[in-house]
């Protein structure tokens, strides 16, 4: 297996790892966002709660949760490693850099966006994952939906969530299509479509997620 660790430690291997874990997280976000979006059904969170209950009890999902955390951790550690490695490759910085002339700012700021996301994620996990999995506070009277309503009463929290979603959107805007490139899937016929889907995905996911705290805060859904 020496060949595998050697390959995964190459500059291309690190990117492969980034791409695979990234796309895995992308697929998780679809499930997560889809489930949460049921709050817009205006059924008082009934569907949402049922879904949450299923997710909490189903053994396959619980196992996947471990895989998810593993993937997330790999994505973070690999990103950190890439960032630290890459930083060393230009020991003397340029005095003037006209980055906007040749690339998008968010493509150059994946480390920064990722860090913001990580900070947001810690807050987010504390709010909901910790609450639902590691405490006994979740009851029939106080469902996860109720907890969401409670958390998003604070305008500061809503602002943090919206900012988190914006970071997520930009992170995905580059990350989605970049993952395909790292995997070597670049073809004149398909790449424009991939880029299009990636952009749509990033915008839809970020907008839907951001809409949740806003809607709950302003009581736009019941």
């Amino acid at each position: 297996m020496a060949w595998l660790s050697k390959s995964l430690n190459s500059s291309l291997g690190k990117k492969l790892l980034m791409a695979i874990t990234g796309l895995f997280l992308v697929s998780f976000l679809i499930v997560h966002c889809g489930l949460n979006a049921t709050i817009f059904l205006n059924d008082g969170g009934a569907t949402f709660n049922a879904g949450a209950e299923f997710m909490a009890k189903n053994p396959i999902i619980r196992t996947m949760e471990i895989v998810l955390f593993g993937g997330l951790l790999l994505h973070i550690l690999d990103g950190l490693r890439l960032w630290m490695d890459n930083k060393k490759k230009r020991p003397v910085a340029y005095a003037v850099v006209d980055g906007a002339a040749n690339s998008k700012w968010y493509s150059r700021s994946m480390g920064l966006l990722g860090t913001l996301l990580l900070l947001f994620l810690i807050i987010h996990l504390k709010h909901f994952w910790y609450f639902s999995r590691l405490t006994d506070n979740l009851t029939e009277e106080h469902t996860l939906y109720h907890e969401m309503q409670a958390v998003f009463t604070s305008p500061v929290v809503v602002a943090i969530y919206v900012l988190g979603c914006i970071s997520l959107g930009y992170h995905l805007l580059h990350g989605f299509q970049s993952a395909f490139q790292s995997l070597g899937w670049n073809h004149p016929k398909y790449t424009p479509t991939i880029k299009c889907i990636g952009a749509a995905y990033a915008i839809i996911i970020a907008a839907l997620f951001a809409a949740m705290p806003i809607a709950l805060h302003f009581n736009l859904i019941h």
């Binding site: 390959s7 006209d98 150059r108 004149p188």
Partner: protein, 252 residues
């Protein structure tokens, strides 16, 4: 006085690899719009020589955009403000009177500064030596037309082979990555039937050498492609990724 451009130049000066460098500011006047950027530096250098100062050292040779030797980072961009152009083909009509121009050497761990704007790019030669060739000794070849190659493949191989090895891709990349350079050669040879025999080995060997030289990883920002004076495409990097992984996972 041939023209009417007056410019302020901020140029990186560094005596040699061992000494620390710093920016010096120079004024040049009477620059003609028809001058190339390097001819403008010639004007400055001639004045510096007359004044008894050391002229600015910079790499250049063919001055027609093909040898890949010129390498100036001008106002935050490799080869300056125009697309698809090397420094030697950049002309002063792209600048305006009174402008300040900052000129730096390529900056990368793998491209150490030799003097002023001159850097050492021999890492590129070593990447090619690691596998950027087809092992065919002189005299071994069959008749050239015994091997038809679809025109599209030949054209794509040519587009990749157009790389001049100037290093603008490394200079532009925020990670000082050499993937555009390396992938262009891997692509050229992977697209041609002649390159098939060594295809897998080549990708692994060249990537390993590229990493050993101290170039960074790719963040897929596309800056290299945007700044490449020969328009080498990012598709080549994707192809290199494919070549590399298919080799890594399938070789014995």
């Amino acid at each position: 006085m041939e023209g009417n451009l007056n410019l302020t130049l901020k140029i990186w000066r560094q005596k040699n690899a061992q000494t620390a460098g710093k920016f010096e500011t120079y004024q040049v006047s009477g620059i003609s719009e028809d001058m190339s950027f390097l001819e403008m530096i010639d004007v400055l250098n001639n004045r510096l020589i007359e004044e008894g100062d050391d002229p600015v050292a910079f790499d250049h040779d063919c001055r027609e955009g093909i040898c890949g030797m010129c390498s100036m980072y001008i106002n935050g961009r490799p080869h300056g403000p125009n697309k698809g152009v090397t420094t030697c083909q950049l002309h002063m009509r792209s600048f305006s009177d009174g402008q300040t121009i900052t000129i730096e050497p390529w900056r990368a761990e793998a491209f150490p500064v030799i003097k002023d704007l001159v850097v050492n790019r021999s890492a590129f030669d070593r990447i090619i030596a690691a596998g950027g060739f087809i092992s065919v000794n002189t005299g071994n070849a069959q008749d050239a037309n015994s091997l038809p190659i679809p025109k599209d493949n030949a054209d794509d191989a040519f587009a990749a082979a157009a790389c001049i090895g100037c290093g603008a891709c490394v200079a532009a990349c925020k990670n000082a990555s050499a993937m555009l350079f390396t992938s262009a050669k891997i692509s050229q040879l992977a697209l041609l039937p002649q390159g098939q025999a060594e295809r897998a080995k080549r990708a692994e060997a060249m990537v390993a050498q590229m990493d050993e030289e101290g170039f960074g990883a790719c963040s897929n920002t596309g800056a290299c492609e945007a700044e490449c004076p020969k328009g080498i495409s990012l598709e080549n990097i994707a192809r290199m990724n494919r070549e590399y992984f298919s080799s890594v996972f399938t070789s014995k």
